[in-house]
Amino acid sequence: MSMINYASREINCKIVYYGPGLGGKTTNLEHVYGRVQPNTRGKLISLATETERTLFFDFLPVDLGTIRGFKTRFHLYTVPGQVYYNASRKLILKGVDGIVFVADSQLERMEANLEAMQNLYDNMQEYGYDLTTMPFVVQYNKRDLPNAAQVGELQTALNPGWEVREPQKQRVAPDPYHAGENLIEQIPSGEWVERAPYFEAVAVTGEGVFDTLKAVSKFVLKTLA
C-alpha cells in the first residue's frame, strides 16, 4: 500500500526482497546502501542473528528522485530466508507494493528456490494479494559461480508464467530488458502466458542490483500513474 503524503510531498512505497536463505537479499540492500548518496537514503536497519542471518528483516529507505514535485521514497525490506521464520516473512509482506524474488542460481539450491517461491505465493494469497497483477520481478543471483544453472532452466522452474485470460491482454509484449524475448506470448499449446521480468545479478559485486531495483520501482510507480 503506497502512501502519498501531500504535506511533506512524498510518495512512499514498500518493496520486499523475497527468496531462499543465503540467496543474496541482504547483499542487494547492502550494495544499494553503499552506492547511493548518503543524503538520499536512511539508515540500513538489520535485525539479524549473531551469525548475520536475517532474523526478522533488513530495512533501507531510499529516495529515487522527484516526480511531479513529489519525492519518491522506497522502503526496501528483506525477509529471513529460512522457512522456519515464516511468521516474520509473512508479516513483512503486509502492505507491500512490489516484490523482488532473489533466486540463488546454484543448481543445488533449485529446491530451496522452488520452496521459497511457493511460500511467497502462499503468503501473498493469505493476504488476498495477487502476485500476477502486481509489480513483481525475479533476480537470478550468483551468476558468476561455476555451478550456476542456465537462465533458461531457472526460468522454466521459477518463472514459467501464468495464464493470461483477458482477451485484451492477449498480445505479444516484448521484454524491454532482453532483446528477442517476450513477457507476454502465446506458447505452442495455444495458451497465452505472462512472465515476470527477470534480471541476472552478482549481488556481491553489485552487478544487476540497480537494474533490478530500478525495474521494480518503475513498475510500482507506473501502477500508481
Binding site: N12, I45, L64, I67, H75, Y129, K222
Partner: protein, 163 residues
C-alpha cells in the same frame, strides 16, 4: 480483511481533528511526543517535541514490534495485545492500537508516569478510534471522492527518472 492491507486516505479536516486530539492528550498527560504509525510501517503523523531519531526507521520498527507481539498473543491464546509498554531508564514508550489499522506511540520521560499516560490516553484512543472508523467507513462506502491522482499521465516523467 487483513489488518492494514487496504488503502485509505484522509482529508485535511480529518488530519486537523487527529492532531487536535493528540495535542490535547500531550497537554493533559505531560508526555513528550506522540506518533501515529500505519500497520504497514509508514509514519502518518507526529505531534509534540520533534523526535531526535530517524522517524522512518522508528515507524518501521514500531509496526514490526506490534506485528510480532500480535503473533505472540495468538500463541498464548489471545487475539491481540492492544497495548505495549517499553520501559527505559530515562525514556519510555507506550504503544496502543487504534481501530486495528494504526498504532499510537507515546514517548515520555520522568516528567510524567505510566499511570497518568494510560489514564489520559483512554479517552484519546476512543476519540481516534471513532475518527478512524468513520474515515474507513467513508472510504468503503465510496462517498469519499478519491484524492486526485498526482501521477496520472506521468509515465514519461517516470521513464526519464529511470534512464
Amino acid at each position: 480483511m487483513p489488518v492494514g492491507a487496504a488503502s485509505w486516505s484522509f482529508t485535511e479536516d480529518d488530519y486537523g481533528a487527529i492532531l487536535r486530539s493528540l495535542q490535547q492528550f500531550l497537554y493533559d498527560s505531560n508526555a513528550r511526543s506522540a506518533l501515529l504509525v500505519d500497520r504497514s510501517g509508514q509514519l502518518v503523523a507526529t505531534v509534540g517535541e520533534p523526535p531526535q531519531f530517524d522517524p522512518t526507521a522508528f515507524a518501521t520498527l514500531t509496526a514490526a514490534d506490534f506485528s510480532a507481539n500480535d503473533q505472540l498473543a495468538r500463541l498464548i491464546g489471545e487475539t491481540e495485545f492492544n497495548s505495549l509498554f517499553h520501559q527505559g531508564e530515562q525514556e519510555s514508550m507506550y504503544l496502543v492500537d487504534i481501530a486495528r489499522r494504526v498504532i499510537l506511540v507515546i514517548l515520555f520521560d520522568n516528567r510524567t508516569t505510566l499511570g497518568l499516560v494510560r489514564l489520559k490516553v483512554k479517552h484519546t484512543v476512543e476519540e481516534l478510534t471513532r475518527q478512524f472508523a468513520a474515515m474507513f467507513e467513508r472510504g468503503r462506502g465510496g462517498e469519499q471522492a478519491s484524492p486526485p491522482n498526482i501521477l496520472a499521465g506521468a509515465e514519461d516523467e517516470i521513464d526519464r527518472l529511470f534512464q
